[in-house]
């Protein structure tokens, strides 16, 4: 078997793919976002429940896609539970950079997520691993903008 192939389909990835986390529908939905990969037709819906301090209480991910996109979504669901939205945004950007090979210097322990690095050797599959994270970023963005309408207000004279 090709070494590269085993690099991408690591045991952890296959484990998440076969038994994805975050499959349970939520009793309350604060953030909802749909992702779509136009080049392959993969679809992903993501729902988050957050508390008053903007910490993620629970995550529901439903991904109709390949092993990589399903595993990536599953790891996401596991990892961001209990994190604040600021932490969620930070890790999402870090994973994006890691997958694109722009910056692989993630110093903290990111657990299973580290195994996504193997996807980098398969450039056409990077977008599969990104789908969940891009969907998450969009959902959080939408949520924060709707919660803080002041971010859309016309700049005051001071700011100009």
């Amino acid at each position: 078997m090709s070494e590269n192939l085993d690099d991408m389909y690591r045991e952890i990835i296959l484990d998440h793919y076969k038994a994805p986390r975050g499959k349970k529908p939520l009793d309350k939905i604060d953030i909802a976002s749909d992702g779509h990969n136009p080049s392959c037709g993969d679809e992903l819906t993501m729902e988050l429940k957050v508390d008053k301090q903007n910490n993620v209480q629970d995550v529901h991910v439903n991904c109709k896609g390949c092993a990589i996109s399903v595993a990536s979504g599953s790891m996401l669901a596991e990892y961001i539970k209990g994190k604040s939205l600021d932490e969620v945004k930070k890790i999402s950007e870090q994973i994006k950079k890691m997958l694109k090979g722009e910056d692989s210097e993630i110093t903290e322990d990111i657990g299973d997520l580290d195994s996504l690095k193997g996807v980098r050797q398969f450039p056409v599959r990077i977008k599969c691993a990104l789908l969940a994270w891009v969907t998450l970023i969009e959902g959080v963005d939408k949520f924060e903008h709707s919660k803080k309408p002041e971010s859309f207000t016309v700049p005051t004279e001071d700011e100009e």
Binding site: M1, S2, N4, L5, M8, Y9, L14, K18, S39, C40, G41, D42, E43, K64, G65, C66, A67, I68, V70, F122, R125, C128
Partner: protein, 419 residues
């Protein structure tokens, strides 16, 4: 006829053909390349590759302009391919053969020029449920611009056109019927001649998308009586960036030009411009000359084998592929499971695995297939899936290639823990 007479004792020497394709000597991930993605683009024989080099080594120049030797030679080589294409598709006039950049541009040309001139509010455009985006998006956008209506011929569960209600779908409101001759996903060969009759009875014109059929079966546009026929060179041994639009002369004559510029004009002043004669009216700018010139070599290569022989050989190989794939646990053929009116594009799904994973795994074994929605999202929806894997055959494939695909799929299911 456009093909050589089939001799009863004809031997299809696939090993000899394989040897004509240098790329098939490549190793991919330590394995012999098994190329099963010809529906996307075929490989090129050494004759075509050499013809390309020869064109640039000996006669490269612009066409229809210069009066020097090279310009004359390039023009004559370019026009030779036009005559060849005219014969290849059933013996039409050279004025009816327009070179484009590919099937997509051929169809867009019709949608923008014929469509703009002939479609009005409330008119109906008839498509089918198995169209490639190239024969869907241009019509949907035209319908939006004109407030026209898109109607579709449905398909049956086994992937054939359902013509039961054809007489209520194609009516006197129908202005054009645009239908694929062979589905790039299902492999189905559609009864274009029969649909053309219905279209014409109602005063509509018909376009057949021949991107997948022209490489594989003898084409006779006059017998099918289609008004337009579109196909691409790169799916039949030629270069990318070359396509053909056949159109009946009296229809092309009335159509406004598509791209505006050099070559497509007759006289130009700032207040009056007249168009060039057919087919040049539709060929503005410098085309892919080398690609067109070498398409002549590609067509000769196909004719030396014979389109009838190609069709017969591929039908046998398709039957073998369907049989082998059906033996694999969890695999389902998406499209007709017999070779009646069917070409060698064989789509399949695995109940446990996504086409992306299938494709990546097969590639690790040297087997190249296509995975995804195949630019046919509406068809995917109809089939109740988001993507399929597709093995598509051509003249250089043999049973050993199908066996390699079969064995790799078995290994794949084991690798992902599905026995």
């Amino acid at each position: 006829m456009n093909t050589k007479t089939t001799k009863n004792d004809f031997v299809f020497d696939v090993q000899k053909i394989k040897n004509d394709f240098p790329i098939l000597q490549r190793e991919i991930n330590g394995h012999r390349l098994v190329y099963l993605d010809s529906g996307a683009s075929t490989q090129k024989p050494i004759a075509v590759i050499n013809a390309h080099a020869d064109y640039y080594n000996r006669i490269n120049s612009n066409i229809h302009r210069g009066l020097h030797t090279l310009a004359e030679e390039a023009t004559s080589a370019y026009e030779k391919t036009r005559s060849h294409v005219a014969k290849f598709i059933g013996g039409v006039k050279t004025s009816e053969v327009i070179f484009t950049s590919g099937t997509t541009e051929s169809i867009n040309l019709v949608a923008y020029t014929w469509g703009e001139a002939n479609i009005s509010e409330g008119d109906e455009i008839v498509l089918t449920d198995m169209e490639h985006h190239a024969n869907l998006v241009p019509w949907v956008m035209l319908a939006k611009r004109k407030n026209a209506i898109i109607k579709r011929i449905p398909i049956t569960d086994d992937g054939r056109l359902d013509l039961t209600d054809i007489d209520t779908i194609i009516t006197e409101k129908t202005k054009i019927v645009s239908v694929t001759h062979m589905s790039n996903v299902l492999g189905t060969v559609n009864p274009v001649k029969e649909i053309a009759q219905v279209a014409h009875q109602h005063g509509a014109v018909i376009l057949a998308d021949g991107a997948q059929s022209a490489p594989h079966i003898p084409i006779d546009v006059l017998d099918m009586d289609v008004d337009f026929f579109a196909f691409s060179a790169h799916k039949m041994l030629g270069a990318t960036g070359v396509g053909v639009l056949y159109g009946k002369e009296y229809i092309l004559d009335k159509m406004p030009p598509f791209n505006m510029g050099g070559e497509m004009i007759s006289e130009v002043s700032f207040d009056r411009i007249t168009w060039a004669e057919l087919p040049h009216k539709f060929e503005a700018g410098t085309p892919n000359i080398a690609g067109v010139v070498t398409f002549d070599t590609a067509l000769t290569y196909l004719e030396n084998i014979g389109m009838d022989n190609i069709h017969a050989y591929e039908t046998k190989l398709t039957a073998y592929a369907i049989d082998k794939l059906t033996q694999i646990n969890g695999l389902k053929i998406q499209g007709p499971n017999n070779t009646l009116n069917r070409g060698g594009a064989v789509s399949f799904t695995d109940k446990d695995l996504h086409p992306h994973d299938i494709s990546t795994f097969l590639d690790s074994k040297g087997v190249a297939i296509r995975a995804g929605h195949h630019c046919a999202q509406t068809l995917m929806k109809r089939m109740g899936t988001i993507a399929t894997a597709r093995a598509s055959l051509y003249i250089y494939n043999d049973e050993a290639d199908i066996d390699a695909l079969h064995d790799a799929l078995i290994a794949m299911r084991r690798y992902f823990g599905h026995e």
